[in-house]
Amino acid sequence: MTDNRLKRLGLGLAAPLLALLSAFLITSLVLLAAGDSVTGVWGQILSPPQARGLTNIVNAATVYYLSGVAVAIGFRMNLFNIGVDGQYRVASFAAAVVAGEAFLPGYLNTLLALMAAMAVGAVWAGIAGILRVTRGVSEVISTIMLNAIATALVAYLLRKAAVDNPGSNITATKDVPEGSRIPGFSVFPDSPNQVYGFVVVAVLVGITYWVVINRTRFGFDLRATGLSQSAAVASGIDTKRMIFVSMLLSGAVAGLVGMPILFGQAFNYGSTFQSGLGFAGIAIALLGRNHPVGIALGALLFAYLDEQSNPLQILQNVSPDIVRITQGTIVLTVVIAYEVVRRYGVRLEQRQVALALEAERSTSREEASP
């Protein structure tokens, strides 16, 4: 039993390691071809980060993590929520407006804004869910369209809701009042900056995700639908409802993606609010195999690459965008590696089953013929 567990763990780790290795090699080849210093770049990226950098990594990973979980919820259902990007931007804007207006005092305001974010994210994803369930429109296409619509809608609403920021040409919503901000805490000694307080929420989201998916009846239904929709129907699962509900859940978590930034750093939603987090989420969910711990590791890796590549321009005269190539390559190689390893695993298991049955048969034959 433990032997089997070890084998499975080994197989599970083999794929991401294989992927990382290939991404490392391909990136190096690009650097070589372009005539940049391979050792210089990797030397910088692999150097131990400062306390400040560590804090940045954890903060960025928090955001990535939520995005990864949002995507993973869809993935477990065989749903491709490309729309996390649009969902979190619409939701962040809504939350920023709610928090900025401060209808309620202190943390009640924060709570209200978070609820608003989740609700708006869910609604935005729900549009794709409705279209899929009632009209059979692929969620891939509809969420791509909704992303673009979100961009235009938020730009329009931002212009309406913007307040004048003296001395700045950035349009942004009203600032979140002091009392409603989520304080950070210092984890790394001597760090001038603080880890988002929201990291606690992210961890809670991860734990909830794990429990719901792996331990509850609802999670079982969700996974069963993802594994085989036809078997799910025959077992009595209302798959249409499941599609809609999981789209809502995915959207609700997507709504949280921008919250660490809103309540821990930016305090308003403006034209410079970080974008593109949804697509990183897809990569991270794939890398982490939709497992809450895997997603966390993937998020940390992406955040690490981002942070460590920042000084490349100054130190090595190499564009930090080189890590985008690494990250993109990881997405491809990790999928290929998982497939290779999965096929190997299935073959291994089939052989085991055959062996076990063979052994059983021969012993019974011996018993039969004394």
Binding site: F80, A148, T151, V318, I325, G328
Partner: protein
């Protein structure tokens, strides 16, 4: 559910394809509507030759990206990496255009696009990676590659920078003043329909980039190759039923590969067009999601070149009106949309599509109210048009759209039988 097989043959009315006379009739009708609209709303810019020429330039990259999508999806490979391949194309055009010349820029754009296409092909066709995943990865990688290379190539070059190439020379363009001038004066007269027609023709005979003409030719070429040649038949068969194709001796993998590489070439050219015709060189972020609009236009056009051309024309038109500051012009269009939607509702009702009819009617009323209650449409909202249109088309006509049957399904050799 098991497939119920019964003795009765389902008899359906044979689908009629659009024939040329109908297309021309539709076109004329559109011009009549625009003329009417000009008179009713009093906004002249809706159908000026300037608007139409700008529309042509705005529509071309969308259409080319859509053609890229069409090639890939007809062979059964979904390509949401179009955006990334387009980005590669803008850089290829900027780099080769600046260091060699504008025509070399066109080739560079195509070459970079093909590189993106090959990456997608290797991942999806050879390694069987999910098409969406691969497309997302291509987009991430392409953006990284271009930003990385742009810094490498253009920083320190006079007129260039980390995010843009120096100015690239223009491609030659065609003007026929002998036709353009009389047409121009006709357009000035503001005669019903005649002026619109003149404006349309004029946009084709004054200052028309050669590349625009070539690109228009590519639509015809695509139609011919895919629907009139053996190669095209085989390529489409791979997207409809690869197992069947394989049993008949078609090398499925090879055709998919060629299709996706071609798809990259078209997307790259789309980027090249942006950099060389619509602008004077490479800029970071130049594509602005046009790859996705191309995908939308392709779906709008029901995976056919003619429909795609119509879709990209429509999306290019709205984009142009937005850019020409046409809050007022677009406002005029609302009336057209409202009439169209209500007409659609009536038609759907007759076709017994009660649900669709209701949706269309409600939307029509909303748009009509919008027209009556406001004077202008905010620019940001105009930008949504392609996406909202596509969502509506998908929602209302999902049954009438016909994507290739094996689109998006990974295929492995030997799956036949």
């Amino acid at each position: 559910m098991s497939v119920a097989v019964t003795g009765t043959t389902t008899v359906k009315a044979p689908r009629r394809r659009l024939r040329l006379p109908y297309v021309l009739l539709g076109f004329a009708l559109l011009l009549v509507l625009l003329s009417l609209l000009r008179i009713v709303t009093g906004t002249g810019d809706l159908s000026s030759s300037g608007t139409l020429r700008a529309t042509l330039i705005a529509a071309m990259p969308i259409g080319l990206a859509g053609l890229g999508g069409l090639w890939a999806e007809r062979a059964g490979v979904v390509n949401i990496g179009l955006e990334g391949m387009m980005i590669l194309g803008t850089f290829g055009a900027g780099y080769f255009g600046y260091f060699w010349g504008p025509w070399e820029g066109v080739l560079g754009a195509i070459g970079f696009g093909i590189a993106g296409g090959l990456l997608h092909a290797v991942a999806t066709v050879l390694f069987g990676v999910d098409h969406i995943v691969s497309g997302v990865a291509v987009n991430i990688i392409a953006l990284g590659v271009v930003q990385y290379l742009a810094v490498l190539s253009f920083s320190g070059v006079p007129g260039g920078g980390q995010t843009q190439s120096p100015r690239v020379d223009d491609l030659p363009s065609i003007s026929i003043p002998a036709l353009a001038d009389p047409l121009g004066s006709l357009e000035q007269r503001q005669w019903f329909f005649v002026s619109e027609l003149a404006a349309l023709l004029r946009s084709f005979v004054s200052n028309l980039s050669v590349l625009t003409l070539i690109c228009l030719g590519l639509f015809v070429l695509t139609w011919y190759v895919l629907w009139r040649t053996t190669f095209g038949l085989r390529l489409r068969s791979v997207g409809e039923n690869p197992a069947a194709a394989e049993t008949l001796g078609v090398d499925v993998i090879r055709y998919k590969f060629i299709a996706v590489a071609t798809s990259g070439a078209f997307a790259g050219l789309a980027g090249g067009f942006l950099a060389l015709v619509a602008a004077n060189g490479f800029r970071d972020g130049q594509t602005g999601g046009r790859g996705y609009i191309g995908l939308a236009a392709m779906i709008f056009g029901n995976w056919r070149p003619g429909g795609l051309l119509a879709g990209s024309g429509l999306f290019g038109y709205t984009d142009t009106l937005r850019l020409r500051g046409g809050g007022d012009s677009v406002h005029g269009l609302l009336l057209l949309v409202a009439i169209g939607l209500i007409g659609l509702a009536l038609w759907q009702w007759r076709q017994h599509g009660r649900q669709s009819a209701l949706v269309a009617a409600v939307l029509g009323v909303v748009v009509a109210l919008w027209y009556v209650l406001t004077d202008s449409v905010p620019e940001d909202l105009t930008g949504m048009t392609p996406y909202v249109t596509t969502l509506l088309v998908l929602a209302l006509f999902a049954q009438r759209l016909r994507m290739p049957a094996a689109d998006g399904k990974p295929y492995r050799k030997g799956s036949a039988g």
